[in-house]
């Protein structure tokens, strides 16, 4: 199907969309936590994929990773645009409204979580989310991030090992924070 689509049979793109739409949406939403923004970025990603699928070589690449990479690039573009008026250290203030209640309940843990997060590299956070939440293999993650599979495995392992050493409270708070910042 992917090969036919890449060869110009674009009617197959609808079927590809059906397969990947939910996954790509989740991937994007976990990272922006805002419905309209996520929808906008998903649109951008799929339109870019449609326009570019004829250049995709099914013999050489993994379609899923290719699509995720497009979505990730859309996210990076989005963050770059936001940066001028977006303080990355002030993430609590931009979380989605749905979490207001739970946010209040974890407020006291913020200080500890910030301290904890400072110990974890952003790339490690991303790999954890991709591996456990998005259900990707190390190979897929490596293709999306443009890194070696061994490096991804190593980072994942280190991140988990680091988490193990922390208190459960910190872990829970970390997870809640992940929901809102990644």
């Amino acid at each position: 199907m992917i090969r036919e689509c890449a060869q110009g049979d674009l009617e197959k793109f609808g079927a590809l969309y059906d397969i990947y739409a939910d996954k790509i949406y989740r991937y994007v939403f976990y990272r922006v936590r805002h419905k309209e923004t996520a929808e906008d970025l998903v649109s951008q990603a799929f339109f870019k994929a449609l326009e570019g699928i004829r250049s995709f070589n099914a013999d050489k690449g993994n379609f899923s990773a290719w699509l995720y990479r497009i979505a990730r690039n859309s996210l990076i573009d989005h963050w770059r645009k936001q940066k001028a008026h977006f303080n990355i250290d002030d993430l609590w203030s931009v979380s989605s409204q749905e979490d207001l209640e739970s946010k209040a309940s974890v407020k006291e843990k913020i200080g500890k979580v910030k301290e904890f997060l400072a110990k974890l590299e952003s790339s490690q956070r991303e790999i954890i989310v991709m591996r456990i939440w998005d259900g990707m293999t190390h190979k897929e993650i490596s293709q999306i991030l443009g890194r070696s599979e061994a490096s991804v495995k190593m980072n994942f392992s280190r991140a988990i090992a680091k988490l193990r050493k922390e208190e459960i409270l910190a872990l829970i708070a970390f997870g809640i924070l992940l929901n809102q910042i990644i």
Partner: protein, 502 residues
């Protein structure tokens, strides 16, 4: 969100591969991984947005495909069916027009006509928004519509499994009595077991399929040819093409029937050109017929049936842009399995392959809750497609209608068995009837095809509806083939169906 054991094991193995020492902390690692999984938020992609984006992408896909531009014409066998409606007209004119038809080595060639040049991809979904309630009453002219519903609403063949009128495939909710008598039959009670319904929109967009309004004068001087020299065609005015019938004059040829007004094409065997299995039995005993019947060993595997169907579609350039993956819809197979004396079982000559129609990313169901779409018959003996029905234009007008937002009303119809009860009073149970519980699950939003008659014409309407899957039937329920219950979201249709028919 849960992580299954296999996924968990894989993650742990990955970790141990990097650092064998972590194996000593497996319990803690499992806890950490499970905690992270538990914290994963449940995210739901907005269904309306998903469908809207899909439609936009497919529109763009069609534009991109057209940039490559397909060149029509060539032999009839390579003729793209995406041009079939326009092409059929052109060919008809050419055949009757004599002198315009060029024949080379028995293959018909026809030049590009102005009509072919005009034609766009009729199989790609196109929508033209019109004013609210533009199609009048969705019920149409009720008396005529109800009469017509029993024969499938005209036009293309019905596509659900089992063939023929779907109502016969479901045991009636009440036994039907003759001469006003009613005997206590089986009473099916439908019980909803799904999630609470979300009915946010007060309006729905109903689609009406539109065909082609082709003025015959566009053929210029060829107009006279339709009279075959016996009638002065100039004496008629404002002529429009409605139907075109063509026959393929070769072995295993086809009849092609195009209903231009309704925007549909129907293909069937040209019987004169196909072998007739029972021909040799004329004048012989019934034993000859019995021996000539299709046997279970003649039935082709599903994969082969699908391949034959796909080859036909490819050979004739039928565009699948609006169709989902093919499904075999042979209801007889279920019957066959249940039959004790299989030697007496009648096996049909062909298998049915349904290419389910998808509009705006949603499947289209018929009123009985079966998917509908393009239906191909694959002949077991000849291993060829013997017919193709419901090849339809995907150009629609779209109009907003009031939607039902009261979930109680929706569920009331579900409990009555849904949309599916032409002619049967559902509100009361006949004394002494046997009750059987049918469980119904959370619905999905799909389209349902309704055909009604209004202003002396047939309207093919796609009405947003809830399709409730039947999740459980009693073990001893034989001959209960209903898979889904359909409830229209259009308030007018829902209200009509909630009132028991007299």
């Amino acid at each position: 969100m849960k992580l299954n054991q296999e996924q968990l094991k894989k993650i742990l193995e990955d970790l141990y591969a990097v650092d064998e020492n972590l194996r000593h902390y497996e319990k803690e690692l499992v806890q950490i991984i499970c905690d992270i999984v538990e914290l994963k938020p449940e995210v739901k992609f907005d269904e309306n947005f998903r469908l809207q984006l899909r439609a936009q992408l497919m529109e763009r896909a069609v534009q991109l495909a057209q940039e490559k531009s397909v060149q029509p014409a060539g032999s009839l066998l390579s003729w793209k069916f995406s041009y079939v409606l326009a092409g059929a007209l052109a060919l008809a004119v050419l055949v009757f027009g004599g002198g315009y038809l060029a024949q080379k080595q028995g293959i018909i060639e026809f030049p590009k006509t102005s009509l072919l040049e005009q034609s766009e991809e009729p199989f790609a979904f196109k929508k033209l928004s019109v004013s609210d309630n533009a199609f009048g009453s969705l019920k149409g002219d009720q008396a005529v519509t109800q009469a017509a519903s029993g024969v499938g609403g005209g036009g293309g063949a019905r596509t659900e499994s089992g063939g023929g009128d779907g109502s016969s495939s479901i045991a009636p909710t009440y036994g039907l009595g003759g001469g006003g008598m009613t005997y206590p039959g089986v009473y099916y009670r439908y019980v909803y077991k799904g999630e609470p319904l979300e009915l946010a929109n007060s309006e729905i967009e109903v689609l009406r399929r539109v065909g082609f309004d082709q003025n015959i004068s566009s053929f210029g001087s060829l107009l006279k040819s339709f009279g075959l020299g016996m009638v002065n065609m100039d004496s008629f005015s404002s002529l429009k093409v409605q139907n075109v019938n063509l026959a393929e004059d070769r072995d295993f040829g086809y009849f092609i029937s195009a209903n231009v007004q309704e925007g549909s094409v129907y293909i069937s065997q040209n019987w004169l050109k196909w072998p007739q299995p029972y021909k040799l039995c004329v004048g012989e005993s019934t034993l000859c017929v019995e021996q000539s019947r299709v046997k279970i060993s003649d039935v082709l595997p599903d994969s082969e049936v699908i391949k034959i169907a796909r080859d036909f579609i490819k050979a004739h350039g039928i565009n699948l842009v609006s169709y989902g993956e093919p499904e075999i819809t042979d209801a007889w197979r279920v019957e066959y399995e249940k039959t004790a004396d299989k030697s007496q079982f009648y096996i049909p000559e062909s298998s049915n392959v349904l290419f389910p129609l998808k509009v705006n990313g949603q499947f289209v169901y018929d009123e009985g809750g079966f998917k509908t779409g393009m239906n191909l018959s694959v002949d077991y003996r000849q291993k060829k497609v013997s017919g193709a029905a419901n090849i339809t234009s995907q150009t629609y007008q779209a109009s907003n209608y009031p939607a039902e937002t009261d979930s109680a009303k929706i569920l009331k119809l579900v409990e009555q068995g849904g949309n599916y009860y032409w002619g049967y009073p559902m509100a009361e149970r006949v004394a002494g009837s046997e009750e059987k519980i049918i469980e119904v699950g959370t619905p999905t939003r799909q389209y349902v095809l309704y055909s009604n008659y209004s202003n002396n014409q047939v309207n093919f309407l796609l009405v947003p509806s809830l399709v409730f899957p039947i999740t459980k039937t009693p073990d001893d329920t034989n001959y209960f083939y209903q898979k889904n219950i359909v409830v229209p979201l259009a308030r007018e249709l829902l209200d009509q169906r909630l009132v028991p028919m007299q």
